[in-house]
Symmetry: C2
Subunit: 363 residues, 2 copies
Amino acid sequence: MQHNWLIQPCASLNETARRAALARQGQLTKPPGALGKLEGLAVQFAAFQGVAKPEVQRIHISIFAADHGVAAENVSLFPQAVTAEMVRNFARGGAAISVLAQHLNAALEVINLGTVSVVEPLKNVRDERIAAGTANFAQSAAMTQSQCQQALAAGRNAALRAQQNGAQLFIGGEMGIANTTSASALACALLNESSQKLAGAGTGLDAAGISHKAQIIAAALALHALLPSPIGKWSRGAGAHVTSQEVLRCLGGFEIAGLAGAYIAAAQQGLPILVDGFISSVAALVAVRINPSARDWMLFAHTSAEGGHQRVLDALAAQPLLQLGMRLGEGSGAAVAVPLIQLACSLHSGMATFAEAGVSEQH
Amino acid sequence: MQHNWLIQPCASLNETARRAALARQGQLTKPPGALGKLEGLAVQFAAFQGVAKPEVQRIHISIFAADHGVAAENVSLFPQAVTAEMVRNFARGGAAISVLAQHLNAALEVINLGTVSVVEPLKNVRDERIAAGTANFAQSAAMTQSQCQQALAAGRNAALRAQQNGAQLFIGGEMGIANTTSASALACALLNESSQKLAGAGTGLDAAGISHKAQIIAAALALHALLPSPIGKWSRGAGAHVTSQEVLRCLGGFEIAGLAGAYIAAAQQGLPILVDGFISSVAALVAVRINPSARDWMLFAHTSAEGGHQRVLDALAAQPLLQLGMRLGEGSGAAVAVPLIQLACSLHSGMATFAEAGVSEQH
């Protein structure tokens, strides 16, 4: 398989529909702008869907699960077994995202890209294990070239399935013990920031735990010659060309690569993306660095309680819809934001205009 | 009718159910606290409903509509006729709150407490007109004692209807051209703040319009001897006892009094309240000043774009769920927040515990 699919152009937004939707917003029975961010959301979906009155009913949620070699460095409060245990919990309906998907009547699939332990066949779980977790990036590159491409392609396939099933919104989620460590390391390398700034509490580390995590990340950045430097070049040297995909390969996880691949492919197909929290946003950053026009198809659901999230959102010029202090992952924050999008579209499409309602306009 | 109903005690929250819900939150398959504000919401509803697994399906929305004499002072961009026109729009399904109520399958009623023009009989609109608008509070008290009590009682009746219909959540909304002027004046008097600080754009005034509005309010505060003073006493004098109900009578509107009465009665019956934006929050402040324990039954939906809202929220120690820059009123911001409450309860009640799911707990 050719892997230049990653840099193929993304779909174009329909600017005619956007203008028509903007004009309609100005005619609805409310003061201009009075619905705040909901107005822009509806207009954005008009541009996504190429229609004057968008609707968002069919939601596709793909959760990518994988283990991380760096879990051996004692960077998480939870044992690695939890990744596979949560795959079972997703499938059986007990996890947060399972409950949310049912409430939203969303399609939910889990893609196992590499838990350490084998998981028995389960409904709605796809066994696409690349390896028994990534390698420990504190010692070597997390993935081989081939593994990284395989994970990106698995994400692409998830987005293609969503599109084939008629999805109007794609949500990616992730599960992987230690994956905030991987995501923070990626963010440090891509944003030229220190690990002290971007390492966070993850599932609930205390200050000492966060400090240890930051040290592990800093050492790994040095090992891979990806330390930030004052001139904004990686320490591989000013002359060295290091691609974002190479950064992903060294520091990422299968599930983060899966998300990045899914986002790029969704954008190429014109399928709007609702990005979840910290790890998903780092995957979105990877995707945008590989294929900048993918950004056009991304909306951001919420600001996570994870410390580094705001910095990543800023780098993506993202203005999330919700600030609820969530930090669970699994796509849960994105799922919680779905009703806002649905209500925004309902208001846009269902409200009367001043003329229809016989309501006087402003002086 | 005796009007001491206003100070009768509010219902008690069920602290046993709150503790049980808190304990359950700690057992669900997620890191503690990872669902952020959604966790506290579910626990709060457990205490409201006295059950371990709350649900919020039946929503009652009462919109109070009335005109304001102070509209004569050129404080709004829209003509006064819009109040009655919007009553029709609510009833016919074209207004924002109509669309939201339908989407949420919520019961919606409109109570006309005093539009200037008579509105023909309409489905779901109750004609309870007290007068053809309030008096212009820039010249005299907005309401007589009797009118103010009548408006408060109309609110109480709405809350009683909601309770009788089995509502699990009460949302109040308002419509009244010039009512941000009334609400800002009330907030100035109750919070001892200047009108320069609390007057805002309303439906979209520019800086000159806001300045004019602040001057009208300042003059009215002086007229009613309710100007803020450095010692935190109204200018009626240190010896004068001015009740919050008297402030409401001088500066309020029928719909604001209706909301305040509804909030107090809902709290007395143990019916949780979701407060909308600026005007509703000022009504909530009036309610809490009259009957402090009403605060226990209030949740706050969103921070409005209206300038003075944050100050009012701070006075109520309120931490709203949403920050979407909305400023429409009608209960619309509260309606938009309803799915968050429903999802919070679904997560709380539907997620598996660590034991149920066979997921390992933290080290």
